[in-house]
């Protein structure tokens, strides 16, 4: 019974992580309409930022360094959009071209990280007090922070879209790019802001994951795959769906791995994704708008 509870807790932890990344991915997809394969690497960049500066200045406040990492992630992603993606969007390149471009960026970024920090798996030692126990399952303080952060981020983004003027414009841009231009929304600026926020969110997720288990250059890809799966299962463009999708993926991963060997983790996620695509291609909720 203990194991069962532990699996549930682990699933929720995983879900929290993937949900954060999926939500950011959703934001990006909604304003640019393509799958950015480089998105996962931003998480890695945030994590390595913290790794580097915390090792350099071990007495510095970890919270401040984390904030720096979040900002760095947002800024870096904003730059990538400005320098690369925008050029292609201006030429109205197809989705497939954008996918290949993001593939290029992902490859380069990942390789650069591996050159500077080696391919080794890096961890960070945090001396927190002992772990918590919930109903017989163990959960570390960082994992608790992860879950609450995820909820917090979700809540913030909900407020952003509902109450800020930028958020509303971003929603308009997502729903109808053509009309948005016509009514005078500065789509370039909105896109840039969205990318910054999305970059910050995913960097935060990467930092938390780093503190939880550690990081290596290829971690970004794993983050990406699971979050894209959550995003698609939840229905592209559907924020709440991404949350549900993340929960599904989290549970499938942890329970699945318990019954089958650990090496099948990624494959399992994809098998579930492919099954969803075959039987429920619009996502778990019937989405009102079907984007290309």
């Amino acid at each position: 019974m203990d194991i069962f509870i532990q699996l549930i807790v682990n699933s929720l932890i995983a879900a929290a992580l993937y949900a954060m990344i999926a939500v950011g991915f959703n934001m990006v997809y909604s304003v640019s309409k393509f799958f950015d394969l480089a998105y996962g690497t931003i998480a890695v960049l945030g994590a390595y930022f913290v790794f580097y500066f915390y090792n350099l200045f071990p007495d510095f406040s970890l919270v401040v360094i984390t904030a720096g990492g979040i900002f760095f992630g947002g800024f870096f992603y904003f730059l990538i959009q400005k320098i690369f993606y925008q050029k292609f969007e201006e030429r109205k390149s197809s989705n497939v071209v954008m996918l290949v471009v993001s593939l290029g960026i992902m490859t380069i970024t990942q390789a650069l990280v591996a050159i500077f920090f080696t391919s080794q798996f890096q961890t960070i030692y945090l001396n927190f007090e002992s772990n918590f126990k919930i109903l017989g399952a163990v959960i570390t303080p960082i994992q608790v922070i992860l879950i609450f952060s995820s909820i917090f981020v979700f809540f913030l983004i909900f407020l952003f879209y509902k109450f800020t003027s930028i958020g509303k414009k971003a929603k308009a841009l997502a729903d109808d790019p053509f009309m948005s231009e016509i009514v005078g929304i500065n789509t370039k600026r909105i896109r840039a802001i969205i990318f910054f926020i999305a970059g910050a969110v995913v960097a935060f997720a990467g930092i938390l994951s780093f503190m939880d288990v550690g990081i290596e250059p290829t971690s970004g890809f794993t983050f990406l795959l699971n979050s894209v799966a959550a995003f698609i299962i939840g229905g592209p463009g559907n924020f709440l769906g991404s949350l549900v999708g993340a929960v599904i993926i989290g549970f499938v991963e942890n329970f699945g791995v318990f019954f089958i060997s650990g090496q099948w983790k990624e494959a399992l996620t994809f098998i579930v994704l492919i099954l969803f695509l075959i039987f429920r291609p619009d996502g778990i909720f019937k989405s009102k708008k079907q984007n290309k």
Partner: protein, 288 residues
């Protein structure tokens, strides 16, 4: 000289992979990122049959082709339901799933330990142990694949693919069934790709799952993006460029793993440059 022969063998093997991938990407217009699946099936078929059952190389190729055809039939049916981004993503998924199979079906594939001792091809008592002769064999297969694909592409089947690629509805109204065409070209592409795997396994005599990861599929995609989409010779050009270019780094003395990463950076830059300046590829005829 030995070194040059080695490079040429690699170029032949990857040219086959590029040509066969181009059959799908160039002629159906879909971004298939799963060539590593059939590359791997071909390699493991040869590896297992040659070492455990001592079956002749040439028979293992036939087996690999049949196995790839069967697997690609199933994969193709699923892929046919999708297009664009999702197609690319699902084909990704199959690459990852297949890699997990290679890694975990240990009784068959020996998992991460891999299979060693794969012998060189033998026919009528002659063994291709000299690399030079192996090169001839590789080029022979390259020519076979090249000519088969040429016939295919220049036939009514090839024209039908172009029609289906451009306007599925019109193709249907004038009597074509797009689903069948897309499936058949996918099966042909996958079956021929497995030949590369067989050659690779026999050449390096040891294989393990790490040669058949998703990254490999991306590499093969880069070959045709650079060389030219929807042009058979383009695939060969792409293979030449992509295999020669990183060799140029060898002249700069870099430690081993930085060299590997630098190669990745070059591929990434190539992708960006090609997409920006020439999305068709150097010799390509179809813009993605």
């Amino acid at each position: 000289m030995e070194y040059l022969i080695h490079i040429l063998i690699l170029i032949s093997i990857f040219s086959i992979l590029g040509i066969t991938l181009d059959l799908v990407v160039g002629y159906t217009g879909q971004l298939a990122i799963n060539q590593s699946v059939f590359y791997g099936i071909g390699a493991y078929s040869t590896a297992i049959l040659a070492t455990t059952f001592e079956i002749n190389f040439f028979w293992t190729i036939i087996f690999g082709i049949l196995l790839s055809a069967t697997v690609s039939f199933l994969v193709g049916i699923i892929l046919n339901r999708f297009s664009g981004d999702i197609y690319a993503l699902v084909s990704f998924g199959f690459a990852i799933i297949m890699h997990a199979v290679f890694l975990n079906w240990q009784t068959l594939t020996n998992g991460p330990l891999g299979i060693s001792g794969i012998g060189r091809p033998e026919i009528f008592g002659f063994v291709f142990s000299e690399n030079l002769f192996f090169l001839f064999l590789s080029i022979f297969f390259l020519f076979v694949v090249y000519f088969l694909c040429k016939i295919l592409v220049n036939s009514s089947f090839g024209r039908a693919l172009k029609v289906v690629r451009e306007d599925e509805l019109v193709s249907q109204i004038f009597g074509y069934k797009p689903v069948n065409y897309k499936l058949v070209i996918f099966i042909i592409s996958s079956s021929l790709a497995s030949i590369s795997g067989a050659l690779f396994a026999s050449y390096v005599s040891f294989i393990d799952p790490s040669s058949f990861i998703l990254l490999e599929s991306i590499f093969i995609l880069t070959i045709i993006i650079v060389g030219g989409i929807s042009n058979i010779r383009g695939a060969i050009l792409g293979a030449i460029i992509l295999i020669f270019l990183p060799e140029a780094i060898r002249f700069i003395d870099l430690p081993a793993d930085i060299a590997a990463q630098s190669r990745q950076i070059i591929y990434g830059i190539l992708l960006l440059v090609m997409m920006y300046f020439r999305p068709k590829g150097f010799l390509g005829k179809f813009r993605i």
